[in-house]
């Protein structure tokens, strides 16, 4: 009775267990090494001069201030457009749509948008926004392209938040004689604020990291433009796009590492913020 498992079974168990831990270890190690390496090579290269100036051919120096601004402009422009659009679409799906076929088609289309690779967004954005609408390679054209790309993210997170609002709230408001829109505006929407914030943070992450969709729509401009409305019409490379440009086309690896480190800090911050927003969402939901 006090026998053991057959050696074959023992071996199977030991090897399988080892494999699992090995793969988990590799993944975690990879991430840690990646972050450590980027910071090791990058943090030292983030200088005040880099952050506060623009590229100067005369002095032969590189500064990324314009690109930091272009990144902010792009994030801002895309969010200002996509948030109302995405929230509106989620409200339609969750609160208004009576026709289930319509809901299915919209959700199917949204899923399809998620699957389309960013290079395709870049192509269509270039054809439609830059050429057809005549926006040229500009921050506005890039932002509009990104709007389509991140629309599914905003729709999904808002829908999830809307679903956590108890039906009894709506019934109570309607029972008091409130119209549907009034109910949504005063009862439903405030409850979804955290979900919307979480979606917006996720979207910021996507925008900051995006490159392929922006390369041909917003371009690779690096001239300082402080006026927002002027910038909308100018070609402007975001940090991710410029990382590619500086590294692949100019061989400026130190600048590359500096930008990579800045992007990593942003990614870490965004991840942390998403966690916070989700936690808050859970507490309320």
């Amino acid at each position: 009775m006090n026998e053991k498992l057959s050696p074959k079974r023992e071996a199977y168990n030991a090897i399988a267990r080892a494999l699992i831990y090995l793969c988990a270890g590799i993944t975690v190690l990879l991430l840690v090494a990646l972050i450590a390496y980027i910071f090791y090579r990058g943090l030292g290269n983030i200088t005040w001069q880099l952050l506060s100036t623009q590229r100067s051919a005369l002095k032969g120096t590189i500064g990324i201030l314009p690109n930091i601004l272009f990144t902010l402009y792009t994030v801002f422009t895309a969010l200002v457009i996509v948030l109302p659009l995405g929230i509106g679409a989620a409200i339609y799906l969750n609160e208004y749509a009576a026709n289930q076929n319509m809901v299915r088609i919209i959700e199917g289309a949204t899923e399809t948008l998620t699957a389309i690779p960013s290079i395709i967004y870049g192509l269509v954005g270039m054809l439609f926004f830059c050429q057809k609408l005549g926006l040229q390679s500009s921050v506005l054209a890039g932002s509009l392209t990104l709007v389509v790309m991140i629309l599914p993210t905003i729709m999904r997170t808002t829908q999830e938040a809307l679903k956590t609002v108890p039906a009894s709230y709506r019934e109570a408001a309607v029972g008091l004689g409130a119209t549907k829109w009034y109910t949504i505006r005063t009862i439903v929407l405030p409850c979804t604020l955290d979900g919307v914030v979480a979606g917006a943070i996720l979207a910021i992450g996507r925008i900051v990291g995006e490159s392929a969709a922006l390369l041909f729509t917003a371009g690779t401009g690096y001239v300082l433009v402080t006026n927002y409305f002027e910038a909308l019409q100018t070609s402007g490379g975001t940090l991710s796009v410029m990382l590619y440009v500086y590294v692949s086309e100019n061989g400026e690896f130190d600048v590359g590492f500096a930008i990579a480190a800045i992007l990593m800090i942003l990614v870490l911050a965004i991840n942390f913020a998403t966690k916070l927003a989700k936690k808050k969402l859970k507490r309320i939901g």
Binding site: A16, R17, T27, V28, L31, P117, I120, E210, A212, Y244
Partner: protein
């Protein structure tokens, strides 16, 4: 008063409806543009010459537009990434859903999510700085920018999708199945491999298909590590993917060359739509059970 209220109500409903159909409009717009802009070059070059031509010389005096090298590179690259990424990702998902204590899982899971948040240019850059020289030294080849290097980078990039989808599928395996296996005298490890993973297979398959979609659509990261030469794919030579073929020539292309790039986009788009159909089929199958 009542009338004004109704008017507002109707206006809002219309407004929300318009927001709702934006995604349909976007998909329609993308599809139409891909087809309209992609077909002319295919028609001019000839579908067979375009899809199965082995030589791409877009800037030659007598240009050749054969994209078989790109198609095969994308297919091989994706297969390679799946071959490496899926086992590792699946084991990671098993670790998170079946072996790790809640505390360990709550540290490791965000790490995987973090991996998903890293921009593709950063992956490409680090691949270029670390992986390319390493591949060159390790395999004693002239250049480290190879299909193999791209496969490694892609494998890392698709890991998070595979882990998260597989973990969801594994966690959804009914506890009763696992209890039945334990009661038959199976160890926990045996139970995971012989019951849990088979029971979660359609979900895991969905994760794999999602990974395929990500890998075949990735552009910037592979552009930075694959050498970008229009060779027929070999594991240790420089190659060009469908995505990178578009990205690398778009900035200076004109005329038929530019149209041909749009045609490549159309081919990629068709691939993605097929993968998406497959994905939905797997997800539906998972739902039914």
């Amino acid at each position: 008063m009542m009338k004004a209220r109704n008017a507002i109500e109707r206006a809002m409903q219309t407004l929300f409806f318009c927001c709702g159909i934006v995604s349909i409009a976007a998909v329609a717009l993308i599809t139409v543009y891909m087809i309209i802009s992609g077909l002319p070059a295919i028609r001019e070059i000839g579908a067979v010459d375009f899809l199965f031509g082995q030589v791409w010389k877009s800037t030659a005096k007598e240009p050749l537009f054969g994209i078989l090298p790109f198609i095969l590179t994308s297919v091989y690259g994706t297969l390679g990434a799946i071959l490496i990424g899926v086992p590792i990702g699946l084991m990671m998902a098993v670790f998170l859903s079946k072996l790790a204590s809640p505390r360990v899982a709550s540290v490791v899971r965000p790490a995987v999510e973090l991996l998903a948040g890293i921009p593709s240019v950063v992956y490409g850059f680090i691949g270029m700085i670390v992986l390319v020289p390493a591949v060159m030294d390790l395999f004693r080849i002239k250049s480290g920018t190879t299909l193999f290097t791209a496969v490694i980078v892609l494998a890392v990039m698709i890991l998070p999708s595979i882990v998260s989808v597989s973990e969801t599928a594994l966690s959804a395996v009914p506890r009763e199945y696992e209890e039945a296996s334990i009661a038959m005298g199976a160890t926990w490890i045996e139970t995971i491999f012989k019951v849990s993973i088979p029971a979660a297979r359609s979900g895991i398959a969905a994760g794999v298909v999602l990974g395929v979609g990500r890998a075949i659509g990735e552009a910037m990261a592979v552009m930075m590590v694959s050498g970008n030469v229009a060779n027929m794919p070999k594991l240790f030579s420089s190659v060009r993917f469908l995505t990178t073929a578009i990205a690398s020539e778009m900035s200076y292309a004109g005329g038929l060359q530019k149209q041909a790039l749009f045609s490549i986009g159309l081919v990629l788009f068709v691939f993605i739509m097929l993968i998406n159909l497959l994905l939905n089929a797997f997800l539906k199958k998972g739902d039914r059970k």
